[in-house]
Amino acid sequence: MMNKIFKIRLSISLNLIFFVFIFLFYSCSKESEESISIVWENDKAVALQFEKPSNYKLGNSQIEVRLVQEGNRVPILGELKEERGMIIFSPLIPLTRGQSYEVFKGEGKLGDVLIPNLSSTESGVSLIEIYPTQDSLPENLLKLFLKFSKPMREGKSINYLTLIKGDSDTLSGVFLDLQPELWNDDQTMLTVWLDPGRIKRDLIPNQKLGAPLSKSEKYKLIVSSDWKGLNGEVLDRYYLKDFTVIARDSISPTPKDWLLDIPHSGSKSPLKVNFEESLDYSLLNEVFKIFSQENQEIAGVWKIGNEEKSIEFTPFSNWKKGKYKFRVSGRLEDLVGNNLNRLFETDLKIQTSEQEDSEFQFIAFEVKE
């Protein structure tokens, strides 16, 4: 009996101790939490900063930062620095938005910190355009370009793309899962290849599965809204591109057949060049130059026309009367990978002699009064 009473008393006292402990811990962690601040750089949480605890020695610090998660919480790898009475912890990669981290000194917890999710104003990203923009595309289409408003997360892009034939036939294995993926410098534009092994004639994928696209069929390309921006931004909606497939393109672009709309001298009216077919969006931005008769490059602005079938050049200074050269780099491609010098695939049986490739082709034009 005595024994039982003692036990109860003991547990009450333990409970009291527990409550005091909880209270102390709460107030302590609350106080500390306020003093842990997040260091931001380009919208990334690159470090945590907090007041130097007493008895702190750099190099023998026992300071640890851990991700709050179920299971084993291990100290995060990073660098500790001491600056003006503050401790700065810089992890190897930025702290993840939406996750909480806890800071320890030895066994004692200094506090928790939550890395906030992006606010609604900064959390959006949109798909600006899908190139080629025209809605009839050749059977042997090789490339698509997706242009976003902000840098996107890379590595799993193919998972967010679906191609549907007709109304409901979801196609698999259409896009090549290439790692590393083909992004532009600021990671806002992705190049996606339709599987070249299926496009190139006579390869096994081509024989077994056929070309990814079939003539006269209708397709829908769907870009999933699950695709995240580089800093965790959410794609504002899903995107859809409808297109119809037309006959294969087996002819290289031929600049000599292009139509030029030539401005008059004394104006800054644009020179318009019509290709009569859609060409590769990414290359159109960098393959053209205009030279005067004296071989001086004319400075100005290029603007790609509707459905990538034309380009306009507006000079910074007025056109002068005289002869000019419109220079096209040989690496310009059409939608199926044929460039000015060679086709995407060369049929060796019909090729008679190997022609010398030219780095550039020129179209001469004259500006008149």
Binding site: T96, P205, E354
Partner: protein, 374 residues
Amino acid sequence: MKKSVLLVAFSTLMVLLAAMTFRGNDELPYNLKMGTPEVKSISSLTFGPEGILFIGDSKSAAVYAVNTKDTKIPASVSPINVQAIDQKIAALLGTTVDNISILDIAVNPVSKKLYLAIQSGDGTPVLMTLSEDKFSPVSLSNVEFAEVQLNNSPGVDEKDGRGRSLRVSTISDIEYTDGKLMVSGISNKEFSSTFRSIPFPFTNEQDYASLEIFHAAHGRYETTSPIKAFTTGNVNGKLYLIASYTCTPLVLFPLDELKAGTHVKGRTIAEMGSGNQPLDLISMEKDGKSYLVMANSRHPVFQVDFKDIESFEGSLTEPLADNVKTEGVDFVSTPLTNVQQLAKFDDNMMVFLQKKPNGSLDLWSTDKAEDLLK
């Protein structure tokens, strides 16, 4: 006479001593310099001589040679077995597993330490080592390094002899063999194959061998489709390049035929079948024989004797099923499926990064390479 010999010997010694003193601290091996390379991404790794690590940086279109100074020969080598490696790395980096990718692995042939190229979801690259089950970050601040720019260097924008300027936007693979760093690159714009052989140590006057490699299907349709992965192998003292293409064929080239500005045609030795992408290639040498080991996106790991490939004169275009015996070349499939990365530990041991059937991404090694290769 004796005096003059002694004098000459003494002077030579002094000159040598002076030369060694002059070399001093400022002249680092392999034309390296001290500093912090601006590495924007780590897409591929390979080792050169004496602990020199080559880092392929796709975002900078550059390759960095970094002196790891990790040259201690280990007394013994323990096997690697790390289960759920992605979860372990994510925890150490303070993030969740969906926020990291392991882009490449490489083993330092001297120290036998494993190096991992990791990328976080926001693109931050991390270089780590794994030794005795312990992960350690490798700092790239204040290191001895040299760099080679693949695009914006003198000579690179010049035409390759066939009128093309070949710019690289992504490095698909790198490998060091015989004093040369080989780099295969892919452009996000034009559809073409670029392959460069760059002498190491890097010099100011880059001797780029930039070329386009063609291959044909059934000897008929020829393309310059880009290279996804490659390796080199030695057969009868001759060095070969074996390259897997983004459109699936496996193509063989004698390395001495690869010269700048030439239209080089390779021999298709196999097609890896529909829907399959070759992910990684390594060559192993055992008892004087070279073997190719190949990880695939859809098929299990294949291995094949280089000698069979070399002696086979035709072009193979049959699809490879498991354990298929093709005309003259045996591509033997191992029981290993879903292997994402391969690395050569030494001629007796390989390392695999493998997605196991239970979903766990495991890194493990086997010294039974010999068994796998039979």
